[in-house]
């Protein structure tokens, strides 16, 4: 059962009227109990993909499946999915608690059967839950949104930028929460632009850029796939020009006082030797296999 596919994007494509393909043939699958991170720069098509997955946007072609059911707007299987797309939004003139109740009851549920204690524990709003939502900060709304998504003890969680508007402490709590629900067997698909956050929480990564799928895999697969190095030299401008023409180097960009170098075939030893032979003085060389580097390397490789 470990490899059971719970969320499946099957060649999802969305072309808007202006002819722009916001999402172009995206295919990926998320296994039960995984925490999958959907990564990509702004405009990559992450939110549109999530919207198609839960039936808010009709695909131009392709389908999405959750728990083995092809998703249509209002599909019954959505009762088993907790969702928060973009920022959490509510009826602003109603108290937080009443918003939760109406959300739950709108689909015919009995509020007494909702997992309210856990939801309120996550929201952490205390007495503020009785206040009108329009008095909430963005962070409070976001926490209430996550709580709303978890009201029904969902088997699947789809969250779009869930830590937007949260302070570092709240972000850590959300990460811990996602880990906890994942341990309980809940499958989580989240989009985020916070790569450090994704690296800490996700065991599976889907990278998108300009509507297309760039890479899928585990965090370690992705970081190993794109080796990179950070070097500090005495003449950054000359080193940049030289490295851009060096075989085995796919990208060079300034980073702080040094250069981040994407390697494809070249080793760090070769890199240092080449720089020295070119008359440059090398102060520092470090290996960099963080997700951020892998991610940026993937995007650079894609655009070149």
């Amino acid at each position: 059962m470990v490899d059971e596919v719970v969320i499946e994007s099957l060649a999802l494509t969305k072309a808007f009227r202006a002819g722009v393909r916001a999402v172009d043939g995206v295919e990926f699958a998320v296994q039960r109990g995984s925490v999958c991170g959907l990564l990509g720069p702004n405009g990559a098509g992450k939110t549109t993909t999530l919207r198609m997955l839960v039936g808010l946007v009709r695909p131009t072609s392709g389908t999405s499946q959750i728990l083995g059911v092809t998703i249509e707007p209002g599909s019954a299987v959505l009762a088993r999915v907790g969702t928060m797309i973009e920022h959490a939004a509510f009826a602003p003139y109603l108290p937080g608690l009443l918003n939760l109740r109406l959300y739950w009851e709108s689909a015919g549920g009995d509020f007494a059967h909702a997992n309210l204690d856990r939801a309120l524990g996550i929201a952490g709003l205390d007495d503020a839950v009785h206040r009108k939502v329009k008095t909430y900060s963005q962070g409070m709304k976001q926490r209430l949104g996550i709580a709303r998504a978890l009201l029904g003890d969902p088997e699947v969680l789809v969250l779009d930028e869930p830590t937007n508007g949260l302070d570092p402490g709240e972000m850590r709590e959300v990460r811990a929460l996602l880990q906890r629900v994942s341990d309980e067997g809940v499958t989580v698909l989240l989009s985020s632009h916070l790569l450090g956050e994704v690296e800490q929480v996700c065991d599976q990564i889907v990278v998108m850029d300009r509507g297309r799928l760039i890479r899928t895999g585990t965090v370690s697969e992705l970081t190993m796939a794109s080796a990179s190095a950070y070097v500090e030299v005495d003449d950054v401008a000359r080193a940049t020009t030289f490295l851009q023409g060096l075989p085995g180097v796919t990208g060079v960009r300034a980073e702080g006082p040094g250069l981040a170098v994407e390697l494809d075939g070249a080793t760090r030893a070769h890199l240092v030797r080449s720089l020295v032979e070119h008359g440059l003085e090398v102060d520092t060389v470090t290996s960099r296999h963080r997700l951020e580097d892998a991610f940026l390397g993937l995007l650079e490789g894609e655009s070149s």
């Binding site: 919207r51 039936g55 209002g74 959505l78 003139y93 709108s106 549920g109």
Partner: protein
């Protein structure tokens, strides 16, 4: 379906704008009553706008008629457009529409519940207008049969019955406005846009209806027979054939506007 309707009604009743809109329908007849009481009009019968205020001072029952006449010409139209135009667009504007539609709730069910709750408020508004007028008129001038040389003699029960028919007719005549506002509400994330569009439809129809050279085209305009109910009081008769025409005329408008709204929303990508 019932659960969804119930939640929509809770949302509507908890909205401050509901009370502001209904409050205006109560407040303006109150001001009108005070004005009539402190400065009674002279008998002038150039039209209903002159006759009803004068007759209201003879029997408070006619204050209900006057309230219906004056408010239905614009304020009631705006209020009904607010209830219907706000229904979907305000949820989209807050971003709450996507939270509703990621639940196992079909768009058709949501529209039905939203339209039903807006319709309930429309009925409440259409009842408040004459009822408030009757109450204020009773307090200020008392309820009497109408017996003046200036109008047909009418009993209390006749006036009350005619006012009930007239109120129902006014509400029914405004269903194209409700339907248009609701249709526009499915197409925009800006509630004001949907409301203005519906009020605009009403105004354009009224303006066109005032252009005599348009000839028989005018009789196809949704507001052409809007004032037909005044015959109930001017002649003291029962419902007229013009009212029947008016009641039938609005049906295709309402059906077409709602059908477009349903079709549009069913295909719409929820992006807000």
């Amino acid at each position: 379906m019932l659960a969804l309707f119930r939640t929509e009604m809770v949302k509507q009743w908890r909205r401050p704008r509901t009370y502001v809109a209904l409050g205006l329908l109560v407040l303006i007849p109150l001001i009108f009553t005070i004005a009539l009481k402190s400065n009674p009009p002279q008998p002038r019968f150039a039209g209903a706008e002159d006759a009803y205020p004068f007759l209201a001072t003879k029997t408070g029952l006619y204050l209900g008629v006057a309230a219906l006449f004056f408010l239905s010409r614009f304020l009631l139209v705006v209020v009904l457009a607010v209830f219907a135009g706000d229904a979907i667009a305000s949820e989209a504007n807050w971003g709450n529409l996507r939270a509703i539609l990621v639940r196992p709730i079909s768009r058709r069910r949501l529209l039905t519940a939203k339209l039903a709750s807006a319709s309930v408020l429309a009925v409440v508004a259409a009842i408040i207008v004459p009822l408030n007028g009757l109450i204020l008129g009773g307090i200020a001038f008392g309820w009497h049969p109408l017996d003046t040389p200036f109008a047909p003699t009418q009993s209390v029960s006749h006036i009350l019955g005619s006012l009930a028919v007239a109120s129902a007719y006014v509400l029914w005549s405004l269903t194209p406005v409700i339907a248009f506002a609701f249709m526009a509400s499915t197409m925009t994330d800006t509630p004001a846009g949907a409301i203005f569009a519906a009020v605009g439809l009403y105004i354009v129809s009224q303006v066109l209806d005032g252009i005599n050279s348009l000839g028989s085209i005018r009789s196809a305009l949704p507001t052409h027979h809007f004032d037909a109910w005044t015959e109930l009081f001017i002649r003291g008769s029962g419902p007229t054939s013009e009212m029947a025409h008016g009641a039938l005329l609005v049906i295709p408008y309402t059906v077409v506007f709602l059908a477009i709204g349903w079709w549009w929303f069913g295909r719409k990508d929820i992006l807000s």
